[in-house]
Symmetry: C2
Subunit: 316 residues, 2 copies
Amino acid sequence: MKIDPSHLEILSAVVAAGGLTEGAAALGKSQPSVSRTISMLETRIGSRLFEKGRRPLRPTELCLTLAAEGRDIHAATERASQAITKYTGGKSGTARVAGSPIFMDGVISNMIAGFQIAFPDVRIDQSYGYATKLMEQLSAGNIDLAICPLKNDHVPPEYAFETILPGRNVIACAPTHPLARKTSLKLGDIAAYPWITPPADSPLYEDLRKVLKGIGITDFKVSFSGGSLVSVMNVLKGSDSLTVLPYSVVFLQKHLKSLVALPIRIEHPERQLGLLRRIDRPERPAVVRFRKYIKQQFASLSHSIGEQERNTLWRK
Amino acid sequence: MKIDPSHLEILSAVVAAGGLTEGAAALGKSQPSVSRTISMLETRIGSRLFEKGRRPLRPTELCLTLAAEGRDIHAATERASQAITKYTGGKSGTARVAGSPIFMDGVISNMIAGFQIAFPDVRIDQSYGYATKLMEQLSAGNIDLAICPLKNDHVPPEYAFETILPGRNVIACAPTHPLARKTSLKLGDIAAYPWITPPADSPLYEDLRKVLKGIGITDFKVSFSGGSLVSVMNVLKGSDSLTVLPYSVVFLQKHLKSLVALPIRIEHPERQLGLLRRIDRPERPAVVRFRKYIKQQFASLSHSIGEQERNTLWRK
DNA sequence: AATTTTCATAACTTAAGGATATATTAAAGG
DNA sequence: CCTTTAATATATCCTTAAGTTATGAAAATT
């Protein structure tokens, strides 16, 4: 005897409501519809579900048994509905995000922390990579969103790129660095110190080279290279080295007293930090939610940086 | 987001089977039917349930969540189906039976015991009454089946009456009774002993009067009256009283050595023991099963009595 | 690259399920 | 006891889901 679960759900509603009319109302259906469904069910089963000719509708034993299963079914569909609502509202699911290591560690991870507080049931899968690899990963469907610096006019048409910050870099050092305490800083001062460079394949490395070249330093001493942000910061802290970092990264570390930016205006890379995704792939709700959260966070970060800007004197 | 539980059931089957084709086969449906149901579900939900363009069908997170609920739903419908099968097979439910007290206690209760062993999930609600009241109870829908002696041609057309035994009575006494040990018994012998009579409103009481009148006793001494079978047997055991009982009752007690029948052939009542029910009421499966069980039991009882008959010499 | 397997689509048919209007019927009340 | 009232059953119509077979498209496999 194959049975339609929705019939059992209806049955349980009628039993719970104590009548067809009220049951139908509870279900949001018309009374005749429910009446017919019940009587079709009765003929299928071959037994009455309600005693004949009793006006306060009296369920039979079988009816009560089936209604109990109907309640289970209703509970399950209810849970399913809520799961769907949660999922389509972007409050559950997974967002797979990747980006440049320095950015992810220095900026995004802090934002992810806040996101997790607000949406604890969204899982964030994070990985690292630079632009080319990120695009491949996006196209392969391995990640949903990339966060990286890119030249705005170098974005292929199958990608969407939303800029979130200008790609501004600064020269950074430990707060204990001799230059950090100098009030008036000359460009020549920095030539004496060794440099920490990011991995050679990173865009930041390219930036660093250009910056130094821009201020006339072509032959610079590299004391450490290739590390992640934490490595870089640790080495900076224990040495007199300098490095080039995105201003946003330094900005967020500043109040932790682990990094400072030297007030030297250096060449802007032509890139913009932004959110990259495939335009032809439907975005899952959790990804949309995450992306918008990141955008909003960057908007407020951008505002904070802007204020800071007005209170700083940059030389060059 | 209102969701159809059967869709979730289908979803879980597809996920469990690992593909549309196998899932459809498991459900006993065609592949296109299942395919369309899934895709309709996807458009309703607004999210994919299976990743696009992956040939070993890969369920999304949401899909797995929903499929889990689908499993619950499937389990519930399965339980419901089995409950229905059991019920319609007469293996669960309730049968409300009533009958003459002496018969119910002396014969039917033993049969009910056997029935309960075979069908432990059928509940028997037993009550007592004589023909008129039983018919009222049947008509009021308070009982499903009556077991009572009735004249075959006195059955109103709205009732069905199946005879199960001829309404044969015997004179009964305790095995320790003086007459029980006598080998040759004369009719006059019984005149000396007091009588136990059933309740005055019972058909058996009428039988007793007729029997005694038939053998010439009009003025008989009543030592006890109105009790149930157990009372009657207890009083018989502790006294020299006689009584009239249905032969079937005595027959079943005989091997317990609590009652014996005197080998005196007495007048047969014109009634027949039978199963009475309303012909216009649909019988619930458990009632059918019980009724058939009782009929079959009486058939074999009837056979046993028949054999016993051939070995007994009845006088009159 | 061809083959195979699996899923999606098309077109059609049947049955279920929704609505409104109305007939029946059991319970209640004068 | 008969009338009233409230609830359920039925009638009719229409829309949509769901089943079928045949067929097209696409991913994996060889």
